[in-house]
Amino acid sequence: MAVATQDGMNVPGTSYVRATPVEAKPAPGATTGVVGWVRANLLSSPSNIVLTIISILLVIWIVPPLIEFMLTHAVWNGADREACLPTAERPEVGACWPFVKDRFAYFIYGSYPIPERWRVDVFFAMLAVGIFWLLWLEAPRRDLGALYFFVVVPVFSYVLLNGMDTIGLRRVDTSLWGGVLVTMVVSWVGIVCSLPVGILLALGRRSTMPAVKLFSVIFIEFVRGVPLITVLFMASVMLPLFVPDAYSPDKLLRALIGIAMFASAYMAEVVRAGLQAIPKGQYEGAMAVGLGYWQMMYLIVLPQALKITIPNIVNTYIGLFKDTTLVVIVGIFDFLRTVEVSRIDPKWAAPTTSATGYAFAAMFYFICCYGMSRYAKSVEARLAKSDHR
């Protein structure tokens, strides 16, 4: 505009400059609202349209049959398999929920004697309090919580679940334990043992003492290099050989030892990553103020290292929780095993019983594991935020 004079004449030599305004382009299609969103996210290009169509077909293929199976075609009431068999007026039978309802107590407690099941409930409640105390980062006195979770609950629940005749609690043999109880006991013993042992192994691996370092490295790499099943086999068939006959551990204890060993090695690597993330200045500062090795670790390094490791510890725990399903190999009835033996029970044998049992088990594991992973994510986000003041 600057080059055009007031009467509209172009200054000589600037004929390439436009003298009249360009005609306005039509307004773009909606960029906001539902239409704009669909256009931007689903239909932005031909390939995107193809992907959208494929995705919609996938959803149509998966979701309606799933809803039919779980809800609309499902059987909700009944006393035995008759209720879940396909009939002439109902050829398509979905999930057989009365089967789960009937077997629910077995899934939770296994064969634990019915009059004693309140003890299991108390154990679950104690565990829930401990987990809540430790995982809620603003909870008061979390040091007491740790003491409660790692010392009080183990001793108390051992007496409670196993029984002690002198205080009037009937002995309950571990072969009767089962279901969610065993899954919880195994995974919780795994975490209670693996955290302290894992910290020691991690410190050992970073130690300057060659013998300590060598031992830690061999243990960690050996256990991490072999499958959990072989560790369980080792605990199950070799351990009884290595101890005097009189002290031969029972089946559950063998599995617990195997799981604890396995989890410790993985936890050690997680903690080691946390230790490595602590700047060297922290160690040097601690030494400069005259702290000894254990004081330095306990007061300065571990509190920082463990804090940033919480998400990874929770993730390791998720893996451990899923891995507890393998203890059936040594003959223990964990939750998945109780589902597995129930689904072939002749009382409930119907075409959809197996799928129902697996769907129920999957929901249980999914809710537990997904919940934990959301928690780990939220802690991670919080830690990331607190890094930037």
């Binding site: 996210n41 689903l42 932005s44 995107n48 992907l51 959208t52 494929i54 995705s55 919609i56 996938l58 959803v59 300057t208 003492m209 060659p210 013998a211 300590v212 031992f215 050996f222 991490r224 290099g225 072999v226 499958p227 959990l228 099943i229 072989t230 086999f233 080792m234 068939v237 070799m238 009884p240 050989l241 290595f242 101890v243 005097p244 006959d245 998720i318 899923k322 891995d323 399903t325 393998l326 059936v328 190999i329 998945l336 597995e340 689904r343 075409p351 197996s354 799928a355 697996y358 088990a361 999957a362 594991y365 999914f366 594991c369 997904y370 992973s373």
Partner: protein, 395 residues
Amino acid sequence: MSIAQESGPPKVSPIYDPKVRSIAYQVILCAVIVFLAYSAVRNAADNLARAKIASGFGFWNQTAGFDISQTLIEYTAQAGTYGRAFWVGLLNTLLVAAIGIVLATVVGFLVGIARLSKNFLLSKLSAGYVELIRNVPLLLQLLFWYNAVLKALPDLRDSWTLPGSIFLNNRGFFAPSPVFQPGMEFVGGAFVVGVIGAVGYRNWARKKQERTGAQSPVALVALGLIIGLPVIAFFLAGMPATLEFPEKGRFNIRGGMEILPELVALVIGLTFYTGAFIAEVVRAGIMAVSRGQTEAAGALGLRTGQTLKLVVIPQAMRVIIPPLTSQYLNLTKNSTLAVFVGYPDLVQIFTGTVLNQTGQAVEVVMITMAVYLTISLVTSTVMNWYNSRIALVER
């Protein structure tokens, strides 16, 4: 005098000397370990003697006397030894691991990239898949595939028949199998020559591009060499292979190739499970390449495909390779879950049947662990070598 006293090292008891302490700790640790090992060995000897089990590896050459449902090498219940059974199991493990690794990589890369897609539906679907699979135990998934899906297929009489004489039923998958006649070795030889030629051509093309900047059609030539040469050799040798079709009888299916439902369930389960983890690895790897790299590539005039191939993927691979390796190892270790669906892998045959028959717990478990340790160590050594080759060279 007083200055000299202060500057000299203070006299302390040797108990507080870090060196003495460290040696003492290590001696105590070694003593404890030696004691534990010694008492374990002594107890084991006692217990074995009481159970009248001879220790040692003498069982290796004894006749096994049990059948195995899938054998890649020749094995019979009458003539096979425990040692032979070990090799059968090991090969079955390697087979399932190899198939699983290939398929899981494909699934993982597809889903990982799909999760980063701008397409809302696709990325949410992939996210749903990853979250669902990762939060449900692998064992549960395997049992589901085996008991609820494959065992629910129709029985033999009502087998599903796919074109090309492929039968699906609850006893497994039956497909035509190739039968080789003499002359097939030429085709194999041509394949090897093709691969060597393709690698050579690629190296030559790269040198040429570095020298002159001219690009060569590497992919086309390599494809032609690797596929074309064997095909030509196949026809020149007079087509020395035919297909044997399975025939459905009344009670069984004869001929052709039989794929056990156990193998199928295991491969499907491992593929979907590990695929979900690989998807996360891939996603993290691609997200680790900063957006500026893509924009700079665009500014240089590279097209989307070229940007991916030349800029993004090489950098992402550096981040992806180490965790990908550990996923491959996890898959191999997880293949031991074969024992729960009855696929005859190393653990099922060796730590299961052989251990039960011989009672040689220590030897059998030790051999099994040694195998997996070797696989782990070899894989991580190779991958470390590869990783150091592609790692960023800094000052």
